[in-house]
């Protein structure tokens, strides 16, 4: 008998060899071209290694070679579900850098657009999460029906369904007509009824509860330490919302609450998003009531909108951040006094929220990895940039 032979007592007959499974980039449940290398023991996950870069399209390099205004349409393509929120963050950063003021009406329009975007994002994310759970397409159909209605508004106001390119430094591109505002009011009025219906379909569904509760629990201290932001963080019970903390734009004028989860599992992440949509509806109602006629862009900034090449912010740096539907979306800009930024960096919530993917998945079954990924809510355009 040589040394390598093991006796029967040493091994548990149920132990199997671990198996490495490649998951993606072409996989219907990875929300794009994300790839995971999962090591499995039986069906239990031992480790998860995310592999990214399949959509790394050099956003930062391209932006460093463009004028400040020309970067705006590129930010649309970062997180292509909520282009308005991306525009918002970039506009804030540049306004901080060049010290541009924004008139009141523009602020209202911005907030309305950002919150509509949040509705679009959350409703679609929930649809996709259910898709991953196996409820194939019905929730997505309902979600996209609502999304289409909001996209019609975006199209009427900005000119494009997805790639709005609507925000400008010091305001927005065009004014919103009263007819459009009326249309938004109509949608906002009907949205809670849709949410009730959506919840009747999903929230108390036993299969959803069994699949989601106690799966992928994220403890709050780990969430903070790993720089998790957005609904994922709040589902773990940490009260941190940049709309409240930074009070950027005019969010301090609106009364809204921040929904928090108590367990931090997939179900909490789902439910926090539902509640956030209800709060967004509240903000929208207040904003639609408060909006007054006025300037939609600062008169000083119209001059450099006609000639983007003449817009040269002073030497310096700025970090502007917004609460995008995915989390903290930050833009770090360094100006060297020329029309192009010297350094342009996007702090993307999708990428950083993925840090804890392995911690959440280990110990669960392989089917749970998919819903955990779905509940973190990644968008590859922003993750890889």
């Amino acid at each position: 008998m040589d040394e390598k032979t093991v006796t029967v007592q040493d091994t548990n007959p149920m132990d199997t060899e671990t198996l490495e499974v490649n998951f993606g980039p072409q996989h219907p449940s990875t929300h794009g071209v994300f790839r995971m290398n999962i090591v499995l023991d039986g069906e239990t996950i031992v480790s998860v290694k995310p592999v990214m870069g399949y959509l790394h399209r050099n956003h930062e390099q391209i932006a460093e070679n463009l004028t400040y205004a020309a970067v705006m349409p590129y930010t649309d393509r970062l997180d292509y579900f909520n282009s308005m929120a991306n525009n918002f963050g970039y506009a804030l950063a540049v306004e901080k850098l060049a010290r541009i003021e924004v008139p009141e009406r523009a602020q209202y329009i911005r907030v309305i657009m950002a919150e509509l975007t949040r509705l679009v994002n959350h409703v679609s994310v929930i649809g996709f999460l259910l898709n991953d759970l196996g409820a194939f397409f019905t929730p997505v159909l309902y979600a996209f029906r609502e999304r289409e209605k909001i996209l019609d508004i975006f199209e009427a106001i900005s000119g494009s369904r997805m790639m709005c390119n609507y925000f400008r430094f010091g305001g927005v591109k065009r004014d919103v007509s009263d007819a459009d505002l009326e249309q938004i009011r109509k949608i906002v009025q009907k949205f809670p009824a849709f949410l009730d219906e959506f919840e009747a379909l999903l929230t108390k569904n036993e299969i959803l509860c069994m699949r989601c509760q106690n799966v992928g629990v994220l403890p709050p201290d780990l969430a903070v330490n790993a720089s998790i932001t957005g609904p994922v963080l709040r589902a773990s019970g940490v009260n941190y919302d940049i709309r409240k903390v930074d009070r950027y734009s005019i969010y301090e004028r609106f009364s809204f609450r921040i929904p928090l989860g108590d367990k931090g599992d997939v179900y909490d992440r789902y439910y926090v998003r539902i509640l956030e949509m209800r709060e967004s509806v509240k903000i929208l109602e207040q904003a639609l009531k408060g909006i007054r006629p006025g300037e939609f862009i600062h008169p000083k900034s119209t001059s450099f909108l006609k000639l983007p090449r003449n817009f040269k912010p002073p030497v310096g740096e700025a970090y502007g951040r917004v609460e995008s539907p995915k989390g903290e979306l930050g833009y770090y800009l360094v100006s060297d006094g020329t029309p192009q930024p010297w350094r342009y960096h996007v702090r993307s919530p999708s990428l950083i929220n993925l840090t804890v993917l392995e911690d959440l998945c280990v110990g669960h079954k392989v089917a749970d990895a998919i819903i955990i990924l779905g509940s973190i809510d990644i968008i590859l355009g922003e993750l890889d940039r």
Binding site: G53, H56, E64, A226, S227, Y332, R343, H345, R347, I352
Partner: protein, 194 residues
């Protein structure tokens, strides 16, 4: 809190550490001191900077820089911006990934695109590009390839796979190889108006 107050607090709490104010941010003069400063900011009850929002690199031609944005989730304050400068030929900065998990991917990204070596990082590999990619594309001196001119290695690959190669392409690649050049993207001419 004022930026100079933060500076004096850090310097008095950590003897031997010197920080400099650079446009509303704190430059940690010796990269080796970074972990001490960050630990102090994280642990001291006055700051409680428990949330590392953003880590990024930047290329300033003479040196490389790593910029950190710290916030406090507990006290809802911030940001404190820290920066570290290193020489281009020896870009070594201590990693914060063991203090803040959130730095893990961001430092990998900065390594991938700028080539900043984060020492003591648990898993410092390229994040977006593949292993075997040469150069760091966000550095200001990176020149990307000309995507339309085939080079010798392309010709070799095509031959191995039995793909017929037109004679002019083969000739062009051969000439490039003889001159010892690579097909790089040209710098834009002034005329192009960029």
């Amino acid at each position: 809190m004022n930026i100079s107050e933060i500076k004096s607090k850090i310097e008095s709490a950590l003897p031997g550490v010197s920080v400099k104010i650079v446009s509303q941010s704190l430059l940690v003069e010796k990269p080796g001191n970074l972990t001490r400063v960050v630990r102090y900011l994280k642990d001291s009850p006055e700051f409680r900077m428990d949330y590392l929002a953003s880590v990024t690199g930047a290329d300033y031609l003479d040196y490389l820089e790593s910029v950190y944005h710290l916030y406090s989730m507990a006290k809802k304050t911030g940001p404190i911006v820290l920066r570290v400068r290193v020489r281009r030929d020896e870009p070594k900065i201590p990693s914060l990934a063991r203090i803040y998990r959130g730095a893990e991917f961001q430092e990998r990204e900065a390594y991938d695109l700028f080539g900043i070596l984060y020492e003591n990082h648990p898993d410092l590999r390229r994040l977006f590009l593949w292993e075997g990619f040469e150069g760091f594309p966000l550095r200001k001196d990176y020149l990307q390839e000309d995507s339309e001119i085939l080079e010798a290695e392309d010709i070799q690959w095509l031959e191995e796979h039995g793909i017929p190669i037109p004679e002019d392409i083969r000739k062009q690649a051969h000439e490039l190889k003889q001159q010892g050049l690579r097909a790089l993207a040209q710098k834009p001419t002034k005329e192009s108006g960029v």
